[in-house]
């Protein structure tokens, strides 16, 4: 048996350390450490609640808009304000643009470059994959940066800039859209669709959504050579490396639901475990700090009552991350959870057969891309120039409210309590706080800690690559985790 400390993990957002125990060339136990503390909840204490719209996006440079949406939703729940349809549409477009760009960036820049590593040079697919995905030098990197930057022109039009916009307000969007701008938005979406269809999928977006089962996915993949598209390249190496047997979890999957329009979410809310759907009860969410470098909260608390105070004693835990639980249960979040809860046929079939694992997390993210882009096209068509985009309402002096939404990497919630017009408690529970949570008071490890058990880790391997695949399959965002 041996123990190793792995890090820093780059190509994740923020700083991460993983301690593993190895027996017989496999991980037998894992501890996930978030080595940075940021202190946003302390900074927000005593502020005007509306200033959360400035501070909270800056929790994270990659989920910035999701943070804005959660903060604006929390404020709008306090104000009891109803956004005009244009406001909902504009916010959905901005939010979807960020989430889609995140999936795209994760696949091309964060996840795939690991398969270009020299350790795989004996594999028959390596030369092609390395030429395409090698970090910085691969043919994909420059190409996708161009496509991504052009797609982000949606932010220039609707949000002023990205990241860290203030256009998302409790009562809608601060940016009205004129007819010619609606046309520009349509053209940006059309151009990005072209890129996805040509390079990522090698098929139409509609064609991708017709794939309804693992068998159909296999047939679709085999119908053309792997070099036909980047998704095929991934599926091909995934079946060679058996990525569906790597990084497995069988915990509850959860989605808060996202992209509301006229009272209905595009992707629904709920939880899923052992083949059964259960509605989400937000009051069952709690955060446990028994293994965190935090103090001031002797037992798990709902975020409304939660406390975030750093503990200077290094012996008090092994991470700055809290352990969120739903009715005491460990929960995994992300595209895979969102698509399971929403009943996406391919993901239901894949997860039904092999659970949550490295391959299925990546497929769920990629299959979400056509779903989101098609919705964006529809929202854009629905925009009504000359109609209102935003309404305003007074903020009560005394209130509490929550904003629950989905970032690319999973469920994000803001809980705020206001007294005398000031924030007396603001608690954020971020997606990677769920996925990379430490052990709780019952010593139950978090999702990544469970997923890593059984992962191959040879004594000769300095940086076990399989561990890297498992970690990055969650698309972690550490700066959010330790806000």
């Amino acid at each position: 048996m041996s123990r190793r400390i792995l890090g820093p993990f780059n190509r994740v957002e923020g700083d991460l350390e993983v301690k593993i125990e190895i027996r017989d060339e496999r991980v037998s136990e894992a501890w996930v450490t978030s080595p940075m503390y940021r202190g946003f909840e302390q900074i927000l204490h005593g502020k005007d609640p509306r200033d959360a719209l400035v501070y909270t996006p800056r929790v994270c440079g990659i989920c910035s808009v999701s943070q804005s949406v959660a903060a604006a939703d929390a404020l709008s729940s306090i104000e009891g304000v109803e956004r005009p349809p244009n406001g909902e549409l504009a916010i959905n477009l901005i939010h979807a643009c960020e989430n889609l760009a995140d999936h795209f960036t994760h696949f091309y820049l964060f996840f795939m470059p690991d398969f270009a590593r020299d350790a795989y040079r004996e594999r028959r697919w390596h030369a092609d994959v390395a030429a395409r995905f090698r970090g910085i030098k691969g043919s994909a990197a420059g190409q996708i940066m161009g496509a991504r930057a052009e797609f982000m022109h949606i932010m220039g039009l609707l949000a002023g800039k990205w990241p860290h916009s203030l256009s998302i307000q409790p009562g809608g969007s601060s940016r009205g859209v004129e007819i010619h701008e609606k046309m520009r938005l349509m053209s940006i979406l059309a151009s990005f669709r072209g890129f996805l269809e040509r390079h990522l999928f090698g098929d139409t977006l509609e064609g991708m959504l017709e794939i309804g089962s693992e068998q159909q996915l296999l047939e679709w993949c085999e119908a053309e050579p792997p070099g036909r598209s980047d998704f095929r390249r991934f599926l091909y190496l995934s079946s060679e490396l058996k990525l569906h047997e790597l990084g497995c979890t069988c915990v509850r999957l959860m989605s808060y639901g996202v992209y509301p329009l006229r009272g209905r979410n595009l992707f629904g809310q709920g939880t899923w475990k052992s083949g059964a759907f259960t509605p989400l009860r937000p009051e069952e969410i709690s955060e446990d700090i028994s293994h965190s470098w935090l103090e001031g909260q002797p037992s798990p608390k709902h975020p409304y009552q939660g406390v975030t105070l750093p503990d200077a004693d290094p012996e008090s835990g092994y991470t700055w991350c809290k352990a969120p639980r739903l009715a005491g249960e460990v929960v995994e979040v992300g595209a895979i959870a969102r698509q399971m809860v929403d009943g996406q046929p391919l993901i239901r079939d894949l997860v039904g057969a092999s659970g949550s694992n490295v391959r299925n997390r990546v497929v769920a993210r990629l299959i979400e891309i056509p779903r989101i882009l098609l919705a964006m096209e529809a929202w854009c068509r629905e925009l009504q120039p000359k109609e209102p985009f935003c309404v305003t309402a007074p903020l009560p002096d005394q209130a509490q409210g929550a904003g629950m939404t989905e970032a690319a990497r999973g469920s994000l919630g803001h809980w705020v309590r206001v007294k005398n017009g000031r924030i007396i408690n603001y608690q954020i529970v971020a997606p990677t706080t769920w996925n990379f949570s430490p052990r709780d008071q019952c010593e139950t490890p978090g999702p990544l800690e469970q997923a890593l058990v059984g992962t191959p880790a040879g004594e000769s391997e300095k940086e076990p690559l399989a561990v890297q695949h498992v970690v990055r399959s969650f698309d972690p965002c550490m700066v959010c985790t330790v806000h």
């Binding site: 890090g7 993990f9 800056r58 964060f110 800039k161 009562g171 700066v479």
Partner: protein, 340 residues
């Protein structure tokens, strides 16, 4: 001389206690894109947390070899504030896998860098992370807000005899970073290319007000009163564009944007201490109905006199459009041909 023969300019990028937003913004560079820009300027990214393949011990080795002088370090870019707490230990941010506080790595690498750049307002001055009571004792590389000092101390000069270059902004525009790096790589960068806060004058000699599409509303003090309205946001909505140093309305963000174009106020994010304005961000503080924060180099009495004069002369078109979220009264086209 071909591009390959030219001497490479080595760039090392590390993320300290920030949000990563400046790196994400950098990925939005275009015409040409980030990689093409670096390639064209002969800049070699020896490591970047979002882009490099090398991970874990390979990266720690690279840092050690750089500190030993085996790898020349032309530019050290630090993104995010430096976390000195708790109690000066730096334990609020340990570089993972190294068992060492990030602030020690940054301090040591800064000693071997030809140029040291603080990317973003956090790394420059402390920024958002040092808001409130500054729970993590965060600071910038050479400033704690507007006080010189910070992590490296007021006297610090990098190898080329230049203080820390503060590419401030929350986040930074991709080209603020890239233009500065290209200037450094091309040679000829001088202390005089930085302003009093050590920010590149290439973008900080401008005000956000320059090129603001709402300038006509500003001229007549036709002011927006609520979010999404088209009028000037200085009088009621907290806009600091007339005081903020940056070229946001000259050099567009994400194709065509800026904060003002997005319908919300400039919060002066390139300034030390922007995160604690002392009032609500999106509301203009006033005394006796007059905004406190007037344009920095304009005599107050003149401003008040001109404002009341221009208010009296505001055309109906601007008065109407200032309170709507789209153009309700277009500019007049003049008289039509009576025979038409």
């Amino acid at each position: 001389m071909s591009a390959a023969d030219r001497k490479r300019f080595n760039l090392l990028w590390l993320q300290s206690g920030g949000c990563g937003g400046c790196s994400l913004s950098l990925l939005c560079a275009e015409s040409p894109n980030l990689l093409a820009t670096l390639e064209g300027a002969g800049i070699e990214m020896i490591w970047h947390p979002m882009l490099s393949e090398a991970s874990g011990s390979e990266m720690i080795d690279l840092l050690n070899r750089t500190m030993a002088g085996e790898i020349p370090l032309d530019a050290l870019c630090i993104e995010g504030a430096i976390k000195r707490g708790p109690k000066g230990s730096g334990r609020f941010h340990m570089l993972s896998g190294s068992g060492r506080p990030m602030m020690h790595w940054v301090r040591d690498l800064a000693q071997v860098a030809r140029y040291t750049l603080a990317i973003g307002t956090g790394a420059s001055f402390g920024g958002i992370t040092s808001g409130g009571d500054n729970p993590t004792d965060a600071c910038g590389l050479q400033y704690s807000e507007n006080r010189r000092g910070g992590l490296l101390g007021g006297k610090y000069l990098s190898g080329e005899g230049v203080p820390v270059i503060n590419v401030a902004g929350c986040p930074t525009h991709p080209n603020w970073v890239l233009d500065t790096l290209m200037h450094l790589a091309a040679g000829g960068f001088r202390r005089e290319d930085l302003d009093d806060w050590q920010r590149p004058r290439s973008y900080c000699d401008h005000l956000v007000h320059h090129g603001c599409p709402r300038n006509e509303f500003y001229e007549y003090k036709a002011s927006a009163q609520q979010s999404s309205q088209g009028g000037c946001m200085m009088e009621h909505m907290g806009c600091l564009g007339t005081q903020a140093h940056a070229d946001c309305n000259i050099r567009p963000w994400n194709g065509s944007g800026s904060c003002l174009k997005g319908g919300y106020a400039c919060i002066n994010c390139t300034r030390p201490g922007f995160q604690e304005p002392g009032h609500r961000f999106l509301e203009t503080p006033k005394i006796a109905g007059i905004p406190i924060g007037l344009p920095t180099d304009m005599p107050k009495a003149w401003f008040v006199a001109l404002a009341s004069l221009s208010k009296a002369a505001t055309p109906k078109r601007l008065r109407s459009n200032a309170h709507a979220d789209h153009i309700v009264v277009p500019p007049s086209c003049g008289k039509r041909d009576p025979d038409e």
